[in-house]
Amino acid sequence: MKLQQLSVFLENRPGRLDAPLEAIAAAGINILTLSLADTAQFGILRLIVRDWERAQQVLEDGGWIVNSTEVIAVDVEDRPGGLAAVLKVLDQAGVNIEYMYAFSSHRPDKAMLIFRFENTDQAQQVLMTHGLRIVDGSELVGAAD
């Protein structure tokens, strides 16, 4: 199952991160996880939210540039080498990872990672073939509760 991630363009100035987060909060939308990639000059805020379509609307109405991208959430064993095992599979299959970040799961033995692949379909296929568990959206929402 693919997930929709929202990305928001931010200038790298003090206070620029607060405003979109506040707008989402004001709309009563829960942020499941986020990551910020930045350069000295600008940043990209990446968000997984409960209701991404509404969140996108809220952000766009607020004047932000937003796009939505398909990402995949993968279950990783919360033990040494857990991530390495997943990366090895992807690497051997020649799947390119654009970026990844952690999802804070509440389950004690599981970690969850959000992957942005160059080719999402191919990545999904590879992960499933190797018996790795892809977390679907509803489960994610549940996990964050």
Partner: protein, 441 residues
């Protein structure tokens, strides 16, 4: 600092000609020019016919005001050589200037044009003290740009030695200055300061170099900058003016009295007009310079609107030259910027941005001179079509914009992507440029 005696006149007959004789010469040349372009240049033939003008109607110099104007747009429209007034095989050289569309506008010269050009440069170089035994370092660009070659042949005309260093490679410039001990430096004023600065970094005393004089042009500069250059290089700094559409450097230049730049008015007829009414402004008042080339063969120009704002003076100069003089250029009637000696129009930036799909016309050009050299930052509002969640794509976008701007406008700029609607919207004419250099004081 050395001051040259006021009597240094290269072409005494031409430069000290009585005003009546020069006026008569100008009128004769103007009539011949109209005759020539009427026969040789379809563009002018049509314009003259439209205006119902023929050469024999010209009884007074003031009649020049009946002639049609020529603009930069005409040069573009006649690209590449539509304004040529001689058969192609008579061209001896072609130079070009940066155009507003990325294509240079070309200017052609016959052999005779080149000789006159060299003499015109020699006139102001000689006025500034240049002697055949001197050595001159030319740190102007050699190429399509008229600066390098124009001054080069001017120096040759006098017979001085030339170090054709060309622009750039500042460390090497300093090594040449140190090792070959030239007397004269020719470049843009800002590059003169760069050289002085770099000399200090290399632990050389920029004031103790062999230089005596400098001839600077190619970009607007203030009297403050002149004083700074003179102080830092321990030289006398002279200003000269020209533009490629009419010839290049050599239209005017200072004598040792430095009471304005002597216009070589046996070769150029200069009007100073109110850019809105196109009526002449009184002497000493700011107006747009409009230039008619009286002797150019390959590409003569009628009433070229330079867009440069300056003042004209007719009072006598203590040096004995009888020409009219002009002030330094204190501004432009259009939005052209000169960035490190390169002419740049905001429309070029716009064009470059449009080449990157998805960018809109929301941009702002900020020009600063933090130290010596101009720095340009272009703020571009990010659009949805351009935005990617991937950092590498975003960096590639900035790189693409930077590359397009370099291709179209010929300048290196910092690209700053900004959030939508952060660049102020203007109800009237948009302000695309914030120039913090305070060039003209």
């Amino acid at each position: 600092m050395v001051t040259s005696p006021p009597s240094r006149i290269w072409n005494i007959a031409a430069e000290t000609q009585s005003i009546q004789a020069r006026t008569a010469l100008q009128l004769t040349r103007l009539r011949a020019l109209i005759e020539r372009v009427n026969h040789q240049v379809p563009f002018y033939r049509e314009a003259l016919q439209r205006a119902g003008i023929s050469a024999d109607q010209f009884k007074h110099l003031e009649d020049v005001r009946r002639l049609p104007f020529t603009t930069k747009a005409d040069f573009r429209q006649q690209h590449p050589l539509g304004l040529l007034a001689v058969p192609r095989h008579e061209i001896a050289r072609i130079h070009g200037s940066s155009g507003t569309t990325g294509t240079p506008t070309f200017v052609a010269y016959t052999k005779n044009d080149l000789q006159i050009w060299a003499e015109l440069c020699a006139r102001f170089l000689f006025a500034g003290g240049l002697e055949p035994q001197h050595t001159v370092q030319i740190a102007f660009g050699y190429g399509l740009f008229t600066g390098g070659f124009g001054l080069h042949y001017g120096v040759e005309c006098i017979g001085a030695a030339i170090i054709p260093a060309a622009a750039g490679n500042t460390r090497r410039q300093i090594a040449l200055l140190r090792d070959l001990t030239p007397d004269v430096l020719i470049c843009t004023p800002s590059y003169a300061l760069t050289i002085a600065d770099a000399a200090r970094e290399l632990d050389l005393d920029s004031r103790s170099l062999s230089l005596q004089y400098g001839h600077f042009g190619g970009e607007p500069w203030s009297d403050d900058l002149r004083l700074q250059i003179e102080r830092e290089l321990n030289i006398t700094a002279f200003n000269n003016y020209g533009l490629s559409e009419v010839i290049g450097p050599g239209v005017s230049g200072e004598c040792s009295a430095r009471t304005g730049m002597h216009i070589q008015d046996d070769h150029f007829l200069i009007e100073c007009l109110d850019p809105d009414t196109l009526e002449p402004v009184p002497d000493g008042e700011l107006g747009e310079l409009v230039i008619t080339t009286l002797t150019r063969e390959a590409m003569p120009v009628l009433r070229y609107r330079t867009r440069d704002l300056a003042r004209i003076y007719r009072d006598p100069c203590p040096c004995g030259r009888t020409s009219i003089r002009m002030s330094r250029v204190t501004g432009r009637t259009d939005d052209m910027l000169i960035i490190r000696g390169v002419n740049v129009f905001p429309s070029q930036i716009e064009e470059a941005l449009l080449r990157v799909e998805g960018t809109t016309a929301h941009y702002l050009i900020e020009v600063e001179r933090p130290h010596i050299l101009d720095e340009v930052t272009i703020k571009v509002e990010i659009q949805r079509e351009l935005f990617s969640d991937r950092m590498d794509q975003m960096q590639r976008l900035r790189e693409r914009i930077r590359h397009e701007i370099q291709t179209v406008a010929g300048i290196r700029a910092q690209i700053e992507l900004v959030e939508p609607r952060t660049i102020e919207r203007f109800t009237g004419k948009a302000t695309r440029v914030i120039d913090r250099r305070h060039l003209i004081t």
